[in-house]
Assembly symmetry: D2
Homo-oligomer: 341 residues x 4
């Protein structure tokens, strides 16, 4: 961290700041420029987390130099992490695709979805049981009943299961049925929940929030990792911008940016980013071409009858085309994916 002093600050103010830093065991490096004096802080900047240096007399501002997260950073662990979920490796050479309906609606629906996505090559079955919905009047999910169906379907199809958890209670229940937890975009800074899944050791898919910076997102991962659970996979799903032609704006650059600053794997969710089924194939191909480690896609046997987010779910037929195209792009970017399982 660099501390920038105000123009014309007193020498006594500079030495006050230096003393405060040294009393914390931090090193100090003073550099007097033409317009400003700056103080470089040497040592573990987390010691400064709760010390309001910016309020000391003569201080104009502080400027962070290193990232605020540690365990999630590439500085901490330069080589990429591979997250192993019961044998399926996320972040390795093989691309991982998670697919299934937005919400689990019935045994028939989830079984049909499971068989279809397995057939095209997906490794994970997704399906929502605890649904956070903007309006209280919308369908809220089947909860535990849904998770039971999810587990039966994934076992029948030979897939792994992932589902969103929205509260401590949901974590406890879902723990019995799923192979991987999903933290949804609205809960990316629900720190209580992050700690909860951090204590469980089960792999976690951590979606970015619609207004979460990459720095905040990696700090959210840090909450989980700080509890001892290093099995975190990131998921870019679009950010909120002024553009309304799509539901959110897919931040495709997040893929290379994350690869540059973190060792954690990253996959892309084009369904929530676009919000419209006609854009999903195009965005899926873009994600893989950009270097994503996989995709999570909403697939419904009959989108027109879906009870939530119908407009963004694709049919098994379209999903099969998507998997075929992805398998071909995979090769060109040095990855693998087997269309048709």
């Amino acid at each position: 961290m660099v501390i920038v002093m105000k123009p014309g600050c007193q020498d006594s103010e500079i030495s006050e700041v230096s003393k405060a830093l040294e009393s914390l065991g931090l090193g100090v490096h003073i550099s007097r420029g033409m317009e400003r004096t700056i103080i470089g802080v040497i040592g573990d900047k987390r010691l400064l987390n709760d010390i309001p240096i910016e309020l000391m007399p003569g201080v104009e501002k502080t400027v962070p130099i290193v990232e605020s997260y540690k365990l999630a950073s590439k500085t901490f662990k330069p080589e990429p992490s591979i997250i192993d979920v019961k044998g399926v490796k996320i972040g390795g050479k093989e691309l991982v695709i998670m697919a299934g309906p937005c919400a689990i609606e019935s045994r028939e629906q989830i079984f049909e979805a499971a068989m279809a996505v397995k057939k095209s090559g997906a490794q994970f079955l997704r399906g929502g049981a605890f649904k956070p919905r903007t309006s209280p009047y919308a369908f809220q999910g089947l909860e535990e009943e849904g998770l039971k169906l999810l587990k039966e379907a994934k076992e029948a199809a030979g897939l792994l299961a992932i589902s969103e958890v929205t509260s401590e209670r949901a974590v406890e229940i879902a723990d019995l049925y799923v192979d991987m937890f999903q933290i949804g975009a609205r809960n990316v800074q629900n720190f209580q929940l992050l700690r909860e899944v951090g204590r469980s050791m089960k792999p976690v898919l951590l979606k970015r929030g619609p207004s979460t910076t990459i720095d905040e997102w990696l700090n959210a991962a840090e909450y989980i990792m700080n509890e001892g659970n290093y099995n975190v996979v990131l998921c870019e799903r679009g950010i909120r911008t002024f553009e309304t032609a799509t539901r959110n704006t897919l931040d495709i650059s997040a893929v290379p940016v994350i690869k540059n600053s973190s060792h954690l794997p990253i996959i892309v969710d084009p369904s929530h980013a676009a919000g419209k089924s006609q854009y999903i194939l195009s965005l899926s191909k873009a994600a893989i071409a950009a270097g994503s480690d996989g995709l999570i896609i909403e697939v419904h046997p009959n989108p027109r009858c879906a009870l939530s987010d119908a407009a963004q779910q694709i049919t098994p037929g379209d999903f099969d085309i998507l998997c075929r195209d992805i398998s071909r792009i995979a090769e060109i970017v040095g990855r693998e994916f087997t269309h048709g399982g």
Copy 2:
């Protein structure tokens, strides 16, 4: 709701849509334009919540005409609501000011803050016990111990108490100590938590999230009200934009917009919006001039020693000036506030 058909859609597609609507008990009104045919839907649009009209053949898009919330809307209740918290009325002629430290740190600190803000005229003591922090390495709050201190301090000073709740467990605990719950910006779409405070009947201050539209914010209020708790006060605290000169961008227009579309009271939090103490007086005056029903301000007996958000907390001296200025602007906008209690 209006359904817009694609250019060149078939008559059979139009009649399919009409039939689907009529089967739900909705009325239908078809209007054939030069470029598009549109279908007006007559009846309770919530019947359509889970029916994907947009996926029916020939449909281009649907356009909402009325707001998606009901209980929070001015259409539902045209006259402004006044929320009575043990005799202090929020939304009435008198302005309400909530003040106190970001986090409760010690008995001495919270008592000193309580006495100071009472002296200047505040009606509520605020203080965080469950602190959601971006980094897991930052101070996380005193939890129940803090709430006990808050209760003692507010009773000693003759104030009411408000504190943030971040989980179901926090709601249970805080219920014993505070007069009003606060839902923080990061939890505005934590629907489980919204329902929980909705069931409690205790008044709720609902902060807007950094990327929450006004429409989504009122839907979040709807979650609370739908459980039977109508004692909701909204709090504008800045939204996330590209501008970084302030921590967030205070959306001052939210004050007249809410007054135009909802009956719920609205107060403003300039501390989190600005993130810097030197802008708080200016923004507080702006908020009251714009028609806000009150303010929530971070005040710390000694900001330089604060354990969190030090840069945005003001001193009791500056808070007293703020209260004096507010009392004078109050008159001009037809409100009242007694500086000095």
Copy 3:
């Protein structure tokens, strides 16, 4: 357009609005719902452009149903347009790549760049002569002298030339030297300039502005087309959001959205979107995978000596790798590009 009346509006107000519309030769369709009465307007909505229907008594708001541009829309011309620039076809099966330095700096630099990008397969040489820079103290370009060098270099290499125009005077000068005009992001709503290039009939590359919606962008294209120049190619180059890890946020979804709503070709500029050379290869591949008709890339023989935007220019060596990768992705998405010319 649909006109939404206020709840409880008078019958007389409805008939006033109807009369106003009919007096303009527009048809009227009234639909009385449970909560609102709405009036559908039938006919050319541009007749309403300057009539403030929203201010008539009883009117709550107006809701547009069809897009506000005409010549640029797919409704007007359903099949994709192919823009022919002296034999190079933009929007056809072959991908088009424009490459070269941010700014033309010297004869040696632009010749070296021209030979290099030609060798890798680019069809256009780009190079700025009129440089809009945020700070007045930064290098502002060689102007006409630069354009002369650009022309010599492109002819020597057998390329076409494109360069940005920033004023009417720049249009006049550049007209003598370049094969295609570029309108930069900052000028996307400089309507005077749009009309000027609209009158010239020379092909125009129209960059999206950092805060331009897709709707506004197509309206900007409409300004050019309305003067009779239909040779417009769109260029997505990132929008401004809260994320600062990249210079702008590349809106990759703009590619399929434009393909869905307009017949104009679209290419992508990853250099300005990312602002950092290490992300350009990844974003270029994503753009082509998403369906872009081409790319415009900043390539400098020696980026470390560049006089502007050094951080986002890549070397000829990296550009060659990019062209090779693009040629391979091209096949998979049904396009063509010959690496190595």
Copy 4:
């Protein structure tokens, strides 16, 4: 400026960077931390404007310490500037109000507006003659004919005149008729135009663009000032965000932020920020309470007949109430404004 070296960089890389800086006459200060080595640059950082330090081997990034503008900064001139326009002082104790129609439409209209706004206390008559409109099919202004009417009306009423200029030609023409130029939001980075008004010495009202940061805005002012014209007044008019309840989001915090970082006066335009007449009174009061030096308001004798932006223009009656309220708030914030002239 501070240069941050990559973790594990070579000593030779550090000395390469140092040499490059020293060769430019800049001082160098090296500070070796636990995680990074940083290099402080001492001297005029503008020497580095076109040197791509970020591309040198071993460099991770550069971090600016002082603002990028100079003439517009408070460091350069600590005391507030007062801009004198023919005796009316902007930035002094007296608030300045500019008012009039969005566009000049007819002699009758502009005279009626002039008399009305003068009567309520405004010092400037505003009226657009060169209208930048999103759609090419909307009314584009009366151009020189309009400016003649503006001049006649302002002289008859005893006001000063301000009007927007959109091109070099418009500057030449408007110079004959107006007392102050306005640079509109869309042209805030039209650097050619900024230089043009910079050379004219006539006072300039510089609107912020919808996606312009405060830093970029002050750099735009720098373009004008760098030509020798220091008579610049800033105007906040709303920024583009995800919220659509208002046309733009008024960034009220820009008022205290500008007061903190620049000596230039700032006024507020609530009309374009809100886009809806019913919010203008509220936002005007907020602006003055926040410390704005004045307002620019759209007033039309008969908004329902306006040819552009009808929804955001207020009537002379409402403007009179606004001026009365402003005069009362002025006193409380230590300013003056005489309602009724």
